[in-house]
Symmetry: C2
Subunit: 299 residues, 2 copies
């Protein structure tokens, strides 16, 4: 198991490094009038995180025999949407977080207005990058935009954020909490998996894409359960953001319904279901390792 | 001339009414958990304005023999992007405007966080609607997304907004001011014209699309010049927003460089050039009337 996790860790690092290069290349062209905006976008987009979402896109594509060239633009689009959501989430009118990934939040570094616009710009750029993927057909690119916009929109991630806001002032039912995170976190994970399938030539109605979606949905919810556990008990320095902001806001989280031990069990069951969704899939070992890694992560 | 303007006014009204219906239909499906978000989106998107941008999309398509069914989804996408930009522009961290189109700004009505998310949601929805236009090909839809994202992104509208923010603290050169408005206002107008051409089957490299773009760029700058004149001299009740916010912010505007009379002349020259761009175009009478109407508008 340890060797497997080490190999997975290596693959995750390689993917993150490759993604970083491609993302950085989109900011090569300078412009004096607009540089502050570009810098604000790049500040949050680059140098960050494990890039799990792009890993999902690229790995699903690879495991279905697809080409990394075809999946990478979709993976980058996904990462831009994820980053924009973090910038807007951290704003004073939202979660009001000053620290993100161990450095000042975008609005602390660039000011409120520029952070707002940098988020808007990354969201917009995501669709530009997906729609112009040169290694896919127009059909695939239009479908990629549809998948991204559905997952990120008012019935996806943003819908989840609105429910999250409600959850700060009134307690959500467990069903609402699951729905919230299905939209807020899992929708982009599902989108990652589906984009990987799409890049490899498997559209949403194929059995492969359906299994991929099922896996990603469960992994997505697991991700949030673990986040909630870590937010209660983790080390601030390791995680790189202010902790206990959720419970200090009286927000409904999985810890409203579970103690840490039961939450972990719940996450482990979801992970088993995620892995089982890919049981007919011969080339999915890396993806099942990933699910195991994510449920056991400590940051 | 008066009859022509009356006919044009009738066409603008008809287009606005038809657009309103199509936009409203996108909010028919209710959802208790998400209703506040949907309501906030619809509040700013519906019931508003002359819909000049959608008129441009639909009229360029019509004048090239295209079908309204094909252009309307692109027009709606454009209107969603325009509306999101107004919602975010009005936020306290941006222009801090309390009134828009004669009613409370989105954040005054729904709160800061919901307004932010409603803007994000409309931007996202725009790409969903464009990418899934059922009356166009996947090639057209992917290209529509590219046009929209380019015009609205960090080298388009958002770039213009960043320059606008700079213009509040340091004076912009005239060239920078033109660049600002080419991006902030004209880019979406150009995009409108190009989307209309695209819907009719004319891609950006056709002579028709090039002429349409030239026209729209000039009309776009004119639009902003007239806005600046009205902002200095117009009647608050007629325009439906707080006036003189620009000069009270010490913002660089066309009135920094012109008196009202010279600004009007400048706008009239631009309009003549816009009309001239369509001089080989037999079916463009409505579009030339529109240019004449926009330069003479008083609200």
């Amino acid at each position: 198991m340890e060797t497997k996790l080490k190999e997975l860790g290596q693959k995750v690092l390689e993917n993150a490094a490759r993604t970083e290069e491609v993302l950085a290349a989109t900011f090569e062209e300078k412009d004096e009038d607009l540089q502050k905006l570009f810098d604000a976008e790049a500040y949050s987009l680059l140098g960050g995180g494990k890039r799990i979402r792009t890993f999902l896109v690229n790995e699903f594509c690879r495991s279905l025999g697809g080409d990394l060239d075809a999946s990478m633009p979709y993976a980058c689009a996904l990462e831009m949407i994820h980053t924009y959501s973090l910038i807007h989430d951290d704003l004073p009118c939202m979660d009001d977080d000053d620290i993100r990934r161990g450095k000042p939040a975008n609005h602390k570094q660039f000011g409120y207005a520029t952070a707002l616009l940098a988020g808007d710009a990354l969201l917009t750029k995501a669709f530009l990058v997906a729609a112009t993927n040169p290694h896919a057909t127009a059909e695939q690119n239009a479908e990629a935009v549809r998948l991204l916009a559905s997952a990120a929109g008012d019935r996806g991630m943003i819908g989840g954020q609105i429910m999250d806001l409600h959850g700060e002032t009134e307690q959500l039912s467990f069903e609402q909490l699951i729905r919230l995170h299905s939209m807020k976190t899992a929708a982009l994970m599902e989108c990652s998996a589906l984009l990987g399938c799409l890049a490899a030539g498997y559209s949403v109605d194929t059995p492969e894409a359906k299994a991929a979606r099922e896996y990603a949905k469960k992994v997505g919810i697991t991700y949030q359960v673990i986040d909630d556990i870590l937010d209660e008990s983790g080390e601030e320095d390791t995680i790189g953001k202010n902790l206990k902001t959720d419970s200090s806001h009286n927000k409904t989280t999985f810890m409203t319904y579970f103690n840490a031990e039961d939450a972990k069990k719940y996450a482990q069951n979801l992970t088993a279901e995620a892995v089982s969704a890919l049981s007919d899939w011969e080339t999915s070992a890396t993806l099942t390792d990933l699910a195991a890694y994510l449920v056991d992560r400590t940051y």
